[in-house]
Symmetry: C2
Subunit: 339 residues, 2 copies
C-alpha cells in the first residue's frame, strides 16, 4: 500500500497583537516524519477552530505558553491512526487530541485524549459538543455556576459551541434561560434550536431594554464568553447571590493596553455575588463525567448541536478571524482528509 | 431615684451624595419615650462609627433601606438596661445592638443582639473586635477567602478595625500577611502592633513598586475594604486560584455616576480566580462561632486591637467624614454616657 509522503501544515508566522488574521499564518508542505518507538501517526479528518486560539498565539501572559513562531498552530483535531509504533494504538483507531493544524500528526500516546472506538456519535462531535466545548459548558455551568431549578441563567454567545450547550444544560436543570447573540439569525436559532426561553440581539440598538425585559426577575447566573459592553449590561441585573462564570472575553479586541469599564466591586458587594474565572484544562479528571452526561443528553434529544464545517486546510488561516467576525453558525471545524 | 427625662439624638437631615458630612446631621433634644409592654430602655455608653454608614444613608440601591430623613442615625451601640418591661432583660444588664446614635434607646427584645453579662472583655469590644468588625473579618477571611497555610494574604485598610483583625487571623492560620495602609504611622502600626510580615503605604509615590516587592510570590487572597486604584494595583499580582474578598469600597468617593477602572474579567479568567462580595448581616448564625474564636485569640494575645474613642455625642456628626479622612487609629467609638 502506497503511503502519502508529504504533509501539509499551517504554521504561525507573525504574532498578532489582537485577533489572528489570515496573514499571520502560512501553509507549508513538509516531509512526513519518521515514527520513533512508542509514537503514533494520525491522519487528521477534522481540525478544530476555537475563539481561545487568540490567546494561544498571544505573547500577553496567559494560561499557556504561546505557540512558537514558525511552528504548527496548536489545535484540537480528530483523525485515524495511520501508522503506529505503540502497542495500544492500532492502525484504523479513531482518536482525538491536540494534534495541530496539519494533515498528519506524529504524536506520543500521552497526546491522545480520546479514543473514539465504540461510539455511536459522529467523530466531529469529539471536537465540539463532546469535546472541549461541551465539557467547558458542563463544568462551567454546573461546577462553577451551581444552578438551582427556577433560577434565571443568561448566556453570552448563546448560539455558539459552548453557549448553546450551556443554555440547554441549564434548561435540563430546570432553569429559565436567556440567550444573548449577534443578529436576527442567531437569535432565532437560540429560540428554535436551543430552546432558550428568551433571546436578545446585542447588535440591536434596543439591546439594553430588551435584556431588561427578558430578565424581569433578575439574573442568578451569567455564563460569560464575551466581557466588555455586553457584560456591563448584564451586571446591572444581578440578583442577590448571583454567580458570574467567566469563560471567555471574546468581545474585547485587545488587553494591551488594559481596557477600562464600569467597576464591578460594589455590584458584587451589594449583591453578595461571585465572579469566577475557570479554565477547562484544570479539570481533566472531570471530562469523563461530563462526556457521559452529554452523550446521554444528545441521545435523548435534550441537547442539540450545530456544526459549521469549512472544507480543506486552505480555510484554516482565515478561520479564527471569521469566528470573531461572527460568520460561523455553530461549532467551527475544518474537514481536511477523508474519513 | 430621679430619672433623666430628656434624650439627645443625632438625626439625619440631608441625604449626602457621597461621604456624609457634619452638616448632614443635627443633634436634637427630645423627651424620653414611654415603654410599652415588652420594651427595654438602654442607656448607651458607646456609639459605634462605621465606614459602612456611608451606604446606610445613601439612596443608591444597597443592601439595606436607607436611614429615613429626620430620623435617628442607625448605629451599633452598647449600653446598660435602664428600665425594662421585659422579663428577660433586667435593669443593669449590659447589652449591644443597633440602638442608634442617641443617649437613650427604647428597643424591643429582638433588637438586642448581645448580652454582655459574664464577659471578661471591656464592653467597648462588643462594637469592634467582638462586634461587627471582628465577626466580619472572621467570616470574610475564613469562610469566603478560605486561606491555606503558606499563602500570601493582602489586606487593605490594614490597620483599621476590620483589616487589623483580618491580618491577625490570617497570621494565626499560617499565612504570610501584607498590609496596605495610609501613611507612615499606620504602616508602622501594622508591623509593630498587628504583626504583618510587610506593610505598604498607599499614599507613597512608590506604592506600586513597594507592593510588588512585598508580594514577590504573588497574592493568594486579597481582603479588600477599599476598591479603586489600590485594588487595581493588587489585581496585577494575583496568583492562580486567588480569592478576592470584597468587604468594602471605601476609596471610591461616589458610585453615581458609576466609576470606571481596569476590567478584571481577563485577570480572573487567566488566574482562575474568584472575586466575591459578602455582607455580614447574611451570616448571623455564624456570629457565636466567630466570637468564641475571637475571644480565645484575644485572651491568648494572638489578636490585639486598637480603639479610637471620641468624647460626647457632639462628636458624632463629623465622625464618619473623619474616618474617610483617615483620622482614626483603630476602631472609632463615641463615649456618650457613663458606665
Amino acid at each position: 500500500m502506497e503511503k502519502e509522503t508529504l504533509n501539509r501544515q499551517v504554521i504561525l508566522i507573525n504574532r498578532p497583537a489582537g485577533i489572528p488574521q489570515k496573514e499571520d499564518f502560512k501553509i507549508i508542505e513538509s516531509t512526513m516524519p519518521m515514527l520513533a518507538a512508542g509514537q503514533i501517526r494520525v491522519r487528521n479528518i477534522y481540525l478544530s477552530v476555537e475563539p481561545a486560539m487568540r490567546g494561544w498565539v498571544s505573547a500577553v501572559p496567559n494560561y499557556s505558553d504561546p505557540v512558537a513562531l514558525n511552528s504548527v498552530m496548536r489545535a484540537f483535531a480528530v483523525g485515524v491512526v495511520d501508522e503506529s509504533m505503540h502497542p495500544k494504538f492500532k492502525v484504523g483507531m479513531r482518536v482525538a487530541g491536540l494534534f495541530g493544524w496539519q494533515h498528519y500528526s506524529v504524536v506520543d500516546a500521552s497526546d491522545i485524549e480520546q479514543v473514539l472506538d465504540s461510539d455511536d456519535m459522529p467523530i466531529s462531535t469529539a471536537l465540539g459538543v463532546l469535546g472541549i466545548n461541551g465539557v467547558t459548558a458542563h463544568i462551567g455551568l454546573l461546577e462553577v455556576g451551581q444552578p438551582k431549578p427556577g433560577e434565571t441563567v443568561v448566556v453570552s454567545t448563546a448560539a455558539g459551541a459552548v453557549g448553546s450547550c450551556v443554555g440547554q444544560i441549564a434548561k435540563i436543570k430546570g432553569c429559565r434561560t436567556v440567550g444573548i447573540a449577534g443578529g436576527a439569525a442567531k437569535v432565532q436559532m437560540c429560540m428554535d434550536m436551543f430552546g432558550y426561553d428568551a433571546a436578545v440581539d446585542y447588535k440591536s440598538e434596543d439591546f439594553s431594554n430588551s435584556l431588561a425585559l427578558a430578565c424581569k426577575d433578575g439574573i442568578d447566573i451569567y455564563f460569560d464568553n464575551v466581557a466588555g459592553r455586553i457584560s456591563d449590561e448584564v451586571m446591572k441585573h444581578l440578583n442577590i447571590g448571583a454567580r458570574v462564570v467567566i469563560c471567555g472575553t471574546a468581545s474585547v479586541a485587545s488587553w494591551n493596553p488594559h481596557p477600562v469599564g464600569p467597576r464591578t466591586d460594589r455590584t458584587l458587594l451589594v449583591k453578595r455575588a461571585r465572579m469566577q474565572g475557570f479554565l477547562i484544562f484544570d479539570h481533566k479528571d472531570y471530562y469523563p463525567t461530563a462526556r457521559r452526561d452529554l452523550r446521554e443528553w444528545i441521545r435523548s434529544g435534550a441537547i442539540r448541536y450545530k456544526e459549521d464545517i469549512l472544507e480543506g486546510i486552505e480555510a484554516a488561516p482565515d478561520s479564527i478571524a471569521g469566528l470573531y467576525r461572527g460568520e460561523n453558525i455553530g461549532k467551527r471545524l475544518i474537514k481536511v482528509l477523508k474519513d
